[in-house]
Symmetry: C2
Subunit: 416 residues, 2 copies
């Protein structure tokens, strides 16, 4: 077997050459390449579904949730193809001027968006990540090195083969999107250590994967580990709005990173029992602090200290009663994961204080935390949601996959 570090260095060198080509392509060429990739996936439908059936057969012992993530069918494949076409239609950030200034000596300085270069994607069993990540990288002018989970190996290979055949048909470099050809876990380690070869790693998957990537990486990482998201219901909140938003934030989908995990209710909010009743009636198990226990109209379990730091990703919610917005902000500062936090309030002054002082990637006033999503934000797609503080925060799409360079145009200026 090839040394994983050598393998990644070789793939990285090919990716770098492809990235240089991609960086110089206009938007139309990249869009055309993606549309050709989408068409090739459509053509290969039978082969891709057969490969997926192989993965499912090999994975018969896996859990039901894992098998569901792994499964492709014609509708899911159509959604994958549609996502590529959506990305192909996005505005291309590359080449845009961020700003321009003329210095007193006449030097004209502009900052211009350029691709990052080579992006590594490390993911688990969802075959669609192969295609989503590849499309976002290509549209933003970056080369991608993809390392998917072995459970989805046949599906990923079939999708990748179609994708790059499409790119090639449109005259784009096939090395723009490469799939690591080994299930050896050391290949992930080699990617994480590939400083100077891979410019950015994006992990897509469960907390175990993200934690490993964050702990081991010697290259920059865009990721979020947790989504311990809060909704704070202020005394000034409209009860009907509070109930609708809280139920949506928790229950629309409980397994997404934007789901509410802790509800904070102002002690002066007059309709707490109804709010907690609505959440319970929607099927949510409640774990409350002492004050919440006295307000719940139905069953509620006492919350332990660990509940405030728990991402349930399930129909479970911790509930704390707080003495106003300041205590809510303090609770979020102590227990939150800086992902998405919301306030429901009619009082604008209170809401603006929350928006200013809660230090999360996304802060919302009178809207559900479940909007934490690149598509919902109008970005067309997302390669992930970042809770780090550098480069990009929140949903990351094509603009987040670019950087900038300074371009100066002079007439012979010397510093002299």
């Amino acid at each position: 077997m090839t040394d994983p570090a050598v393998l990644i260095a070789e793939m990285g060198a090919r990716a770098r050459r492809a990235a240089i080509t991609l960086a110089r392509l206009g938007s139309e060429r990249k869009s055309d390449g993606l549309r050709a990739a989408a068409a090739a996936i459509r053509e290969d439908e039978a082969a891709i579904l057969a490969a997926n059936a192989d993965d499912l057969a090999r994975g018969a012992g896996l859990g039901a949730a894992m098998l569901d993530r792994l499964r492709l069918d014609p509708a899911r494949l159509a959604a994958i193809v549609a996502a590529v076409e959506t990305v192909a239609a996005l505005d291309d950030p590359v080449g845009a001027e961020i700003d321009r200034r003329v210095r007193p000596n006449g030097l004209v300085l502009a900052r211009v968006r350029v691709p990052i270069g080579v992006i590594g994607i490390v993911y688990e069993s969802r075959p669609n990540v192969t295609v989503d990540a590849a499309a976002l990288c290509v549209m933003s002018g970056n080369a991608a090195i993809l390392r998917g989970g072995s459970e989805a190996g046949a599906s990923s290979r079939a999708l990748h083969a179609a994708f790059v055949r499409g790119l090639a048909a449109a005259g784009l470099p096939v090395d723009a999107v490469q799939l690591v050809p080994t299930a050896d876990r050391a290949a992930v380690g080699a990617m994480l250590g590939a400083a100077g070869i891979i410019d950015l790693v994006v992990p897509r998957g469960g907390k175990g994967l993200v934690a490993r990537v964050q702990a081991e990486a010697r290259v920059p990482v865009l990721a979020h580990l947790d989504g311990i998201n809060h909704v704070y219901v202020d005394r000034s909140a409209d009860p009907a709005m509070a109930e609708a938003v809280v139920v949506d934030a928790k229950m629309r989908r409980t397994g997404v990173c934007g789901a509410m995990e802790t509800l904070l209710v102002d002690s002066a909010y007059p309709a707490s029992p109804a709010l907690l009743g609505k959440l319970a009636a929607a099927g949510c198990a409640l774990r409350g602090d002492a004050a919440a226990m006295t307000l719940a109209p139905g069953p509620m379990v006492p919350a332990g200290e660990e509940d405030w730091d728990t991402e349930y990703l399930d129909a479970v919610c911790s509930v704390a009663i707080v003495a106003g917005v300041e205590q809510a902000i303090a609770h979020i500062s102590r227990h939150g994961s800086r992902h998405t936090d919301a306030i429901i309030a009619a009082d604008e002054r209170v809401a603006e204080r929350f928006l200013a002082e809660v230090d999360s990637a996304i802060v919302l006033w009178n809207a559900s935390t479940q909007f934490a999503d690149g598509g919902e934000f109008g970005l067309g797609a997302e390669i992930g949601i970042a809770t780090g503080r550098l480069h990009a925060r929140g949903p990351v799409a094509v603009e987040g996959l670019t950087t900038y360079k300074w371009v100066g145009r002079g007439a012979g200026q010397v510093r002299g």
Copy 2:
């Protein structure tokens, strides 16, 4: 002695509280704090110069260059004070909206600049870094943890004491700027490992320091290791302009990271001997490839393969003759350090190709590489120059010390 990790965690916790306060201060409060810090340094002139005299006496065995970097005098101290006042007058990026969009459901989404949080600065013997870095961090709403070299220990302590006395007089938190109180090198390791405590580390100093920080850091780093900068003189260049820019790029100051280290000359450029003659006449030793050797009017040493990868930081220049812009770009791609590269050309098409294809933080047309400087770029100052690809590239000043958050304002929207 305190465990360095515990020390940094304690300093980090105080810095975080100060950062939260700073993040909420308006521009005027931060500017006032910096003006008060500048005034306090001015008041303490005698004490600061006495502390510096102690450092110089202790460092009597150090080299002349190191002693010069360490030395303060009334003029240098006045320059330090003036730099703080310049930073105090900068536009405050915090709170600015980067963009705003209204979603079809009515949700109004804005991206708003916010401070990064806690910045660690690791530097060597220049006492002015204590003050420059502190001022840039405070103006951008960040708390700073400073770790200077032990050679400048007394000077840094005296400058820091004055700075925070000024901050406190203006009502800013003294923990906004903290100086690591130990010369123990393990404190640097603790800063580099302080993920979640320190949000960003900026090393300021020689290549050894930067390389150590880049190799060990578990937190993001903004830095440049090398400035292997090129000037390419195209066949279309005006000879008088080429000569003026090349001599300035190499010889204005040879020890700065923006100095030219390699001159690339188009084989079709008609005035090569005169160009090389001007550089030699300015006092620069030349090391050329075989073609350059035949063109040099005076002494030239043959360049070895390592010369193309060498940052001389001295009155030495490697010279290669290339067959046009494409070969120049290829040479820079292979040997450059992605810092600053320039083309001298009258042909706009050639120049624009160079600007587009050279993948460096700063690319210049008809201007000296010595402009690679935050002040020259109109940023008012710089905390450093970054050659990494994420977050910020080139000179980094107050805007580069901020990040953004997404702020959404709704009317009860649910995802449903």
